[in-house]
Structure formats: structure tokens, C-alpha cells
Point group: C2
Chain length 283, copies 2
């Protein structure tokens, strides 16, 4: 069954970009937005959705339901979504952590005739809101999917996976636990490493004038530090164990660099860092 109607719940940067990307890739069905009236207005103007609707109406008539709100809002709304989703429809999400959402969904969808598939498109850019939504946002991006083990793929899901590819992304299957463990290392710790570095430099510099004595390195390393706590709160609250473990690994590595600072052994640490550096450029 091909997807004919899509509901996007939360038409911000990710939700809006998904709508725009679908249209650009040739989706001719209807895209219904569920958001606050001002957001719907902006999304319509931007061409990201065809019309707005209350959640009850939108979910009752859509084949694919895409939850693109902040994590904590998704968690809160899952029971309502499971109740309202049309039988046979597929509900998926864009939350940046997966274990908490998938666990909540498993309970919420137990008696639902709709199905849930956890997802996380690894794409984004600075800023937020549908105003900066971008039909190319998912080009070249990995779209993590966390299917239930043993569940068969329904038709809507097959079609959804085709649309992921048509908008330029490539699906990668992981368990929710694997996803959260890996993103703690590759995304959550980099954020905290940047924020902590910015906070440490702010603490350590007596004189703000001395910030002039900084090269491009500090700029790079504190770019993520511009992120607001609001955006990160949901991630930190739903993945604390993995993040703590990954932070401990990072701290141990910094301590090793500190303790070998003037030892020739440091050359090897630089080398393994260089290998990872190259790998991040190749993926």
C-alpha cells in the first residue's frame, strides 16, 4: 500500500524539511501539518505542508505519521498518538534518543492497530523552526531505524523506507540500545565536550581581552557550545547512563594525554586520533 497521506506532528526544522523533501522527491499525496496555528501558517507559506489539521483529524486519516517534536513531547504524546492513529498506519519519529521512546511506544501501541517504528534522521543545522527548513536536509544523511526484533515489515513501512532513500538518506538499522550507546559517543559527548570547554575557558581566563589570543581551533571547538539547554534537555534526561559512561571514557583519555604530555608515547595517541579523524571525513 503506497503512502497517500502523511501527517507531520511538529512542523519545525526536521518536520518541515521532511515535508519539503517529500515534495521535491515527487510525493504527490497530501501532507498534513499538526502544530500551533502560527507554525502552521509559516509551514504553509514555506510550502512544507498542504494544510493544517487538529491532531485527531490528521492522525485518523494518514498512512504515515511522522513525530518530529522534541523528545519529551513525543514521550508525553505517544499514548494519545497510539489511540488516534488510523488502523494500518505507520507511526515513526525523529527523536534523538531511542530507547525511552521505543519502550514507551511498545506499551502505548500494544492495543493499537497502528504500528510504531523508531527513527532518527542524522541531519540538522544551526537554528530551528520551519523558517529554515530545507528540502535538501536529508541528502547524504544516515536515517537510523530501530525496528522491533522479529517484527515483519508492513507495506507502509516498505514504502516509507523507499521515501527515505528517495529524499537522499540511507537507512541504518540498530537496536534502540545500540543507537543510544553509539550516539552518546558520537553526538552527545561531543556536545558536552564543547560546552564544557567553553565553560572552562570562560572560568580560566582572567581577562576577556585574552580571548583575542585564540586561533580558529577554539572557534571550532566551541561551535556546538552555542546550543541551548532547551534542545539538549530531552536527550540528557533520556540517555544519562550511556552519556555518563562515554564521558568517563573521554575523561580517562584526557587524563592519559595529560599524564603522557611530555612522553614520546603521546605520538601513538595522536595517531589513533588521526585515524578516527580520517574516518569521520570518509563516512
Amino acid at each position: 500500500m503506497p503512502i497517500e497521506k502523511v501527517a507531520i506532528v511538529g512542523v519545525g526544522l526536521i518536520g518541515g524539511s521532511f515535508g519539503l523533501a517529500l515534495k521535491k522527491a515527487g510525493f504527490v499525496g497530501e501532507i498534513i501539518g499538526v502544530s500551533r496555528p502560527t507554525t502552521i501558517e509559516a509551514a504553509l507559506e514555506h510550502g512544507a505542508i498542504d494544510r493544517g489539521a487538529p491532531i485527531k483529524d490528521a492522525l485518523g486519516e494518514s498512512d504515515l505519521i511522522f513525530l518530529a517534536q522534541p523528545i519529551l513531547r513525543i514521550l508525553e504524546q505517544l499514548p494519545e498518538v497510539a489511540r488516534l492513529a488510523r488502523p494500518g498506519s505507520l507511526v515513526t519519529d525523529a527523536g534523538s534518543t531511542k530507547a525511552a521512546i521505543v519502550e514507551r511506544a511498545a506499551a502505548a501501541f500494544q492495543d493499537s492497530k497502528a504500528r510504531f517504528l523508531g527513527g532518527h534522521p542524522m541531519a540538522g543545522k544551526e537554528g530551528r523552526g520551519v523558517a529554515i527548513a530545507d528540502d535538501d536536509l536529508f541528502q547524504g544523511a544516515v536515517w537510523a531505524l530501530t525496528p522491533q526484533p522479529g517484527s515483519s515489515t508492513c507495506d507502509v513501512e516498505s514504502d516509507f523506507r523507499r521515501w527515505i532513500e528517495r529524499i537522499g538518506a540511507s537507512a541504518l538499522e540498530l537496536s534502540p540500545q545500540e543507537h543510544d550507546r553509539v550516539t552518546a559517543l558520537t553526538s552527545h559527548v561531543p556536545q558536552l565536550a564543547s560546552s564544557a570547554l567553553a565553560a572552562a575557558v570562560a572560568d580560566g581566563l582572567g581577562n576577556q581581552e585574552h580571548l583575542r589570543v585564540a586561533g580558529g581551533g577554539l572557534r571550532d571547538m566551541t561551535r556546538l557550545a552555542g546550543s541551548s539547554y532547551e534542545i539538549w534537555r530531552g536527550i540528557l534526561l533520556t540517555n544519562p547512563e550511556n552519556i555518563r559512561e562515554a564521558l568517563d571514557l573521554y575523561i580517562a583519555e584526557i587524563e592519559a594525554f595529560r599524564d603522557q604530555l611530555t612522553s614520546p608515547e603521546l605520538a601513538e595517541r595522536f595517531e589513533s586520533a588521526q585515524i578516527l579523524h580520517k574516518q569521520t571525513r570518509n563516512t
Copy 2:
């Protein structure tokens, strides 16, 4: 006394860019390069110098002597430079740490009729060598200078400071100790934070395929990790106390983030990080 002849010792990225920048800014005197024959050839081809010469000849006839080799090479060569420098000339350098070089220079230049002024242009780019030298490299950059307290400014030094401005940089005076303390925080720790993060991610990821589950954040945060130990060795060996202290401050900050991960107090840490983030964008 205006500078009529400049000797650049070590015609790599920084030395070559200094030559190109001087010419672009209207310097009509002669620029003499001191480097290995293949480097001199490349520098001539690139237009960064007017001719090459052995160190003895170049230093004996130049008004300004610019040492742009790696730190450890500068340290090693300072006594020879002090001996060979023309009486009345100014010797300055581009080493990334200052206390060790200034201390060595104080001893080496004690009986010299040339003068030494420590310097560190805060400019650079990825890669190395005169092939990527750039006449715009110092545009907008801070050029740290570490004059001896109480020493009067000689004519050559005044003229050198004018050339710093003409090539688009702005001088900032610091003591060598202050310079090394500040750059430990603003440059050396960012480098080690990046290398350690890359090494930790390499350690922590079981499966390299999982690197695909990484956004732009990890890329940013591991850009510096591409640096080679060779380039950093001299910095680490000549500034270990400040770097250790700054690393300890950074570790303490990461531990605070870890311990407050799910606490509302984390909002304040994100905020002080955001303030520093903005400041690095404004300077």
C-alpha cells in the same frame, strides 16, 4: 631606521606567508630566505622571497630577522642566531609558546648587539609548507608580542610593528608567561580535547559502521585531531605546566557536567558556555 632587508629563517606556511604579505603591503626591500634548497626553490617560485642565502650571510645583512621554524628548532638555533645577527638588527620569532624561547633568547642575546622580541602571529590554516603560504594569512589576526619589561622600543622594532599592522594584523602585548598560560587554555587544550575525543570515540565504538551514526558535531570536534604530533611536540614540551593545569580545569568542568547531567542546574552551565561561544564569534 626603516627595515630594508628581511631574513626569513624557515620559509614554511608562516614564514612564506609573511614574505608574501610584506610584498602585498608594499614592502620594496629585499626578502632573503633561509631554508633547505628545495624549500628555497619552492619559495622563490611562489614569490615569497627574493633570494635564498646561507644563514650566516642572510643574518649578517638583514635589519629584521624572522624565525619561523618549529619551536624546538628555534630554541636550538638561538645562540647561533644571536652570534650571526647584524648589530642593530631585530630578531623576532613566530613560535607558538613564548616563555622557553624568551628565556633562551635572554641568555643568547646578552652579549649580542642585536635585539630579540618574542612574537606569535595567531594565524594558520590546515596543512603546511610554503606551497600553501597566503598573502592574506595575517589579515584580522592578532600578533602577540612579548617585549622585555622596561626595554625601550628601537627604531627597527617600531618599523616592524608598523609592518604588522600593514599586513592586517594587530599587535597585542603580553608577558611570555601570560601568553603561555592563555594559549594553554585557548589553543593547546582545544587541540588535546579534540585528539582525546577522537581517541575516545575510536576506543568506545565497537563497530566502525557505527561511525555513520554521527552528525556534523563529531566532525567539527575532531577537525583538530587531524594534526600531527610532530607539529605539537614542541608546544607540549615547552608549556607542560600550563597545559596540565588547563586540562585539569577542563576535566573538572566535564565532571561537573557529568554529575549534573539530569539536574536543572545544568542549564546554567550551558548558559556560561553560550556566553563564551558568542564571545569567540565577536573577537
